[in-house]
Subunit: 494 residues, 2 copies
C-alpha cells in the first residue's frame, strides 16, 4: 500500500466551526487546497481550486457586463503600491507615494475629450494592497485580486442608474454563483452632509460568527473628483458657443476575492469545504473501486468512460478518481474536505447491478445518499446539483432572515437583540451621523465594551421593511430628537 509507504494521513479539519471559527476557517481553506501561505504574513497563494473559482467569478461578470461595453485597461501597480504595501519592508518616506486615484484620474481627464466619450467605464482586473493587522486568507489579504470599474457620466441620473444596476448585479452574482443572500443598501450618514457622495454596498452575513461583511461596493463620488481633477465636457445641449463646461459624475465599483472567503465561511462545515455546484471546479467525482481481475477492470473502465462522456455532454464538470493504493474511505475523505458537491462509487458490483449510490457533500449522512440507476445519471445529476445550489442558498437565507434578523421599533428590543441575542437589527433611524456614532459607541457606554465596538450601522437597505418610502416613527435612539427617515441595518461588522 502506497499509503503506508508515504505515511500520508488523510487531511482532516481538526477544529469545529462553532468552537473556534478562525482556526476552523484557516484549516478549511488550506486543507481544501484553496490557498497556501506565502513567505510573508498576510500574503496567500491562490491554488488552482481557488483561482479556478475566481475565474468563474470573472467570466460570470464578463458575461453579465457585456451589454455595458466596458473598456478594459491595465494600469501599472508599482506607481501606487502605496505606503501600506511597503510596510513589511519598513520603507521610510513612503508617505509620498501616489495612490491609485492620483494615477488614474488625470488620465480620465485626458481620455474624456467630449460628451461622446461618456459614459466612460474603465474596467480593471487587478491587484490591490492593504495593511491587515489580523490577516485571514481571502477575507483579509494584504495583497488581493479584484475587479474595479471607474466610470464617468454626463448626468447625476446616469451615474445613479449605473450604481443601482451594479448593486443589483453584484447581489445577483452572490445569489446565483455563490448561493449567498445579500442585502443591497447604502451606507448611512457618514457622507450625508455632501449629498452628491454615497456608497452602495451589498452586505452578506456569516452565520457562524453572527457577523455581517461588505461583499462588494459602488462609490458614487458625484462631482467631487471631477472638480478636483478638472474633468469636464462641453454641454452637448448648449445653444450658445462656446458651450458651458460640465463636470462629470463619477462612480467606482469593485468586488474582490473576498467573495470566495465569504462563500467558504457561509457554507462550509466541520468536515471541510462545501462548494455550491456552480462555482465548484469539479461538480461530480467518480471514485472507482478496485476490480479483482483484468476482465472486470476492462468492463469497469468502459463503464466509467461511458458515464464520464454522458455527464460531460450534459454539461457536468466530472473527474474520475482511480487512485490506487488508498482505501475508499481515504479517497472519500479527500472529496469531502475539498467540497465537491457530489461523488459516486463505481465498482464491479455497481456495474453489474447498474445502480450507484450518489453521495451529497452538503448532506453527509444517510439523507445525502441516493441510489440511482446508471442509465439515468445524466438526468438525475444535473437536477441534484441544481437542488444543492438552491438548498445552500435557502439555508443561508433562512439563517440570515428568519433566525438572525430582528425588526426593532423600540430601544429595549433593539439593544437586547443586538447585544444579548447578537442579531442583525433593522431599526428606524434619523440618518444623523452623530446618532449613528452614539449607537456604534454604545459598547463604551456601559453595555458591553468588547462587543459594542464592532456594532455598526451596516447600511440603509434599498428594500425597506415598512410599506411607505419614508419611515414615520421617531428615531430608535431615545436620546435623539429627530424623526426616523429610513430603516437602517445594524449589526456586528466584520
Amino acid at each position: 500500500m502506497l499509503k503506508s509507504i508515504l505515511g500520508i494521513s488523510p487531511p482532516r479539519v481538526e477544529v469545529n466551526k462553532e468552537d473556534d471559527f478562525d482556526t476552523w476557517y484557516e484549516q478549511v481553506v488550506v486543507k481544501g487546497e484553496m490557498i497556501d501561505h506565502c513567505c510573508l504574513p498576510g500574503y496567500f497563494i491562490l491554488k488552482p481550486v481557488a483561482y479556478g473559482m475566481w475565474e468563474k467569478v470573472r467570466s460570470w461578470l464578463a458575461d453579465h457586463l457585456q451589454p455595458l461595453e466596458l473598456q478594459s485597461f491595465s494600469v501599472p501597480i508599482l506607481p501606487y503600491l502605496g505606503d501600506r504595501a511597503q510596510a513589511p519592508y519598513a520603507v521610510s518616506g513612503s508617505s509620498s507615494f501616489p495612490n491609485a486615484e492620483s494615477v488614474i484620474y488625470p488620465y480620465c481627464r485626458k481620455w474624456i475629450k467630449s460628451h461622446r466619450d461618456l459614459p466612460l467605464q474603465m474596467n480593471q482586473w487587478c491587484i490591490r494592497f492593504q495593511h491587515e493587522q489580523n490577516p485571514q486568507p481571502l477575507l483579509r489579504n494584504c495583497e488581493y485580486l479584484l475587479q474595479e470599474v471607474r466610470s464617468a457620466h454626463i448626468t447625476k441620473d446616469s451615474a445613479r442608474q449605473e450604481a443601482a444596476q451594479i448593486l443589483e448585479l453584484y447581489s445577483l452574482l452572490y445569489r446565483d454563483l455563490l448561493a449567498i443572500p445579500v442585502v443591497k443598501g447604502y451606507k448611512n450618514a457618514a457622507y450625508l452632509q455632501d449629498t452628491d457622495i454615497s456608497t452602495g454596498v451589498v452586505i452578506a452575513y456569516i452565520p457562524a460568527t453572527n457577523q455581517c461583511i461588505e461583499g462588494a461596493k459602488c462609490h458614487e463620488f458625484g462631482q467631487t473628483l471631477s472638480k478636483a481633477y478638472e474633468i469636464t465636457v462641453r454641454d452637448p445641449s448648449a445653444t450658445a458657443e462656446p458651450a458651458a463646461l460640465l463636470h462629470v459624475w463619477q462612480n467606482c465599483w469593485r468586488i474582490s476575492i473576498r467573495a470566495l472567503g465569504v462563500m467558504v465561511a457561509t457554507h462550509s462545515d466541520n468536515h471541510g469545504l462545501v462548494l455550491p455546484p456552480r462555482i465548484a471546479e469539479t461538480q461530480v467525482a467518480i471514485v472507482t473501486a478496485q476490480a479483482s481481475s483484468t476482465d472486470e477492470q476492462l468492463i469497469l473502465d468502459t463503464e466509467t468512460d461511458r458515464l464520464v462522456s454522458r455527464l460531460s455532454s450534459a454539461g457536468i464538470r466530472v473527474k474520475v478518481d482511480d487512485l490506487e493504493g488508498y482505501s475508499l474511505g481515504w479517497r472519500f475523505n479527500e472529496w469531502i474536505v475539498s467540497g465537491t458537491p457530489l461523488f459516486i462509487v463505481l465498482g464491479p458490483n455497481e456495474v453489474t447491478n447498474q445502480v450507484v449510490t450518489i453521495r451529497r457533500r452538503d448532506l453527509l449522512h444517510a439523507e445525502g445518499k441516493v441510489e440511482a440507476a446508471i442509465p439515468e445519471l445524466h438526468t438525475i445529476i444535473p437536477t441534484t446539483l441544481a437542488n444543492i445550489q438552491e438548498e445552500l442558498y435557502r439555508n443561508a437565507l433562512a439563517k440570515f432572515q428568519a433566525d438572525q434578523t430582528r425588526i426593532a421599533d423600540n430601544w429595549d428590543d433593539f439593544i437586547k437583540s443586538l447585544y444579548r441575542d447578537k442579531l442583525v437589527c433593522l431599526a428606524p433611524h434619523c440618518r444623523q451621523r452623530s446618532c449613528e456614532l452614539y449607537i456604534e459607541g454604545m459598547g463604551s457606554d456601559g453595555t458591553d465594551q468588547a462587543l459594542g465596538s464592532h456594532i455598526r450601522c451596516l447600511c440603509v437597505p434599498l428594500e425597506q421593511p415598512g410599506a411607505t418610502e419614508e419611515c414615520t416613527t421617531p428615531c430608535i435612539n431615545p436620546t435623539c430628537k429627530y424623526s426616523a427617515l429610513k430603516w437602517a441595518m445594524f449589526g456586528y461588522a466584520y
Copy 2:
C-alpha cells in the same frame, strides 16, 4: 461643426519609420490608442485596444494549452518585487528582497508529494518588473504582463518534450495570431558546460531596424533547481523499499506583452498601426456618410443595421462609425491610425446602388480599394480579412528569410553580411562559448564598435539549413580550431 468647436485635429504619425524608428514606434502606439504613458518613466497604461489584444493572446493560449491541463495559480507579487522594481523610489537595503524563484520553488517542493503529481505545470498570468534604462512601450516596460508556467517532470525526456511542444506552440501563436514568422532554436554555448540546462527561444525579426528579438522562451533547468530546493519523488518503478528518491526535471516557459510590441514594429507603417485581422478588436469599420433627409437617414440606418447583423453572424467584429460633425476624411484617418484592417463607406448613394468601396488598411492606395456588392459583403469580407492576415505574414516572412538572411560559410561573407549589409547570418559554428564571445566582440576588434556591440549569437535553429544533423565544415571563425557542430544564427539583437 463640432470639429472646429473642439479644435481637435486628427491624430497623425509625424515621423517616418525609416527615419527615426523609436519616435515613429512611440507615436504609433500612443496615437493608435494602444498605450498611454504613466506617471513614472517605463510604466505604461494598456488601453482597451492593447488590453483587448492581450486578452486574445490569453484566450488563444488557453484554447491551445487545454490538452495539457495546466494548473493555474496566483502568487502574490509583493514578496518578490525585487530590488530593481524598487529603484524608482531609491529604497535602501533592497538587495535582501526574495526573488520569484525563492518564493515559488519551496511550494513546488511541498506540492509535489509523489510521482502522481507529475508533470506539475503551474500556470500564472501575472506581472513582472525589470529595470529598463531605455524603456519603450510594450517592448521594454519596467512593469509588464506575462504568462509564465513553471513545470516539474519525472524524466528528462518528459521535460524536453514539453519544451519542444511549447516552442512550437509559441511559434504558432506568432504566426497564426500576430502574422509574424519566428525561428525556433536553442540558445548556444553559454550553458554548454552543464548539458542539463538549456534555453529554447523563438526569435522574431523587426525589419525596420534589422534587429532580432526574443519573442518567448522556455528555460530547461534540468535538475539544477530540484537539487537546490530538494524537490524529489520516490521512484515509481523501484522494487526495493523504500524506493529511491528522484530529483525532478524542471522547465519555465513564458511569453509577455512584448509580443504585441513586436507585432506593431513589424506590420505598422508611416500612417499608423496595421493590425492583423485575427488580433484586431474591430475588424471592419462601417463609416456612414451624412444623409440629406430624414427619410434617407432611415433607409441608411436600416441598411447599416442589416449589414452589421449579417457581418456579425459571419463572425466578423464590426463597428459602426456614425460620428457627426467630422468630415469623412477625418474619420477615415482615425481608422487608419488605429490600424483597423478594413473600412467601408456607407452613404445614400451606396445604399441606392447596393455597391460599396472596401478599403484595406494594409494597402492604402488604389490597390487597396475594392468595389463590392452589399449583398455579397458577408462572404467577400471574411475572405479579404483572411487574405490580409496571410499577406501580412508572407510579407514579413519574405523580408526575414529572403532579403535579410544569409547563409554564410566563409568568414569574409559572414563579416560583410553582418556588419556591412546588416543581415541575419546562419554560419557553421563550434558552439564554444569563447568562440561565440569572440564573434560577439568583433565590434571592439576594429570592425565597427557601435554596431558590433549588438551582434549576438541569437540561437541554434531547430531547422538547420544543411541536410545533415551535424554540420561538417570548420567553424566560421578562422581563429577557431574546432569543427562546426551546428549552423548558428547571428545578428543584431534587440
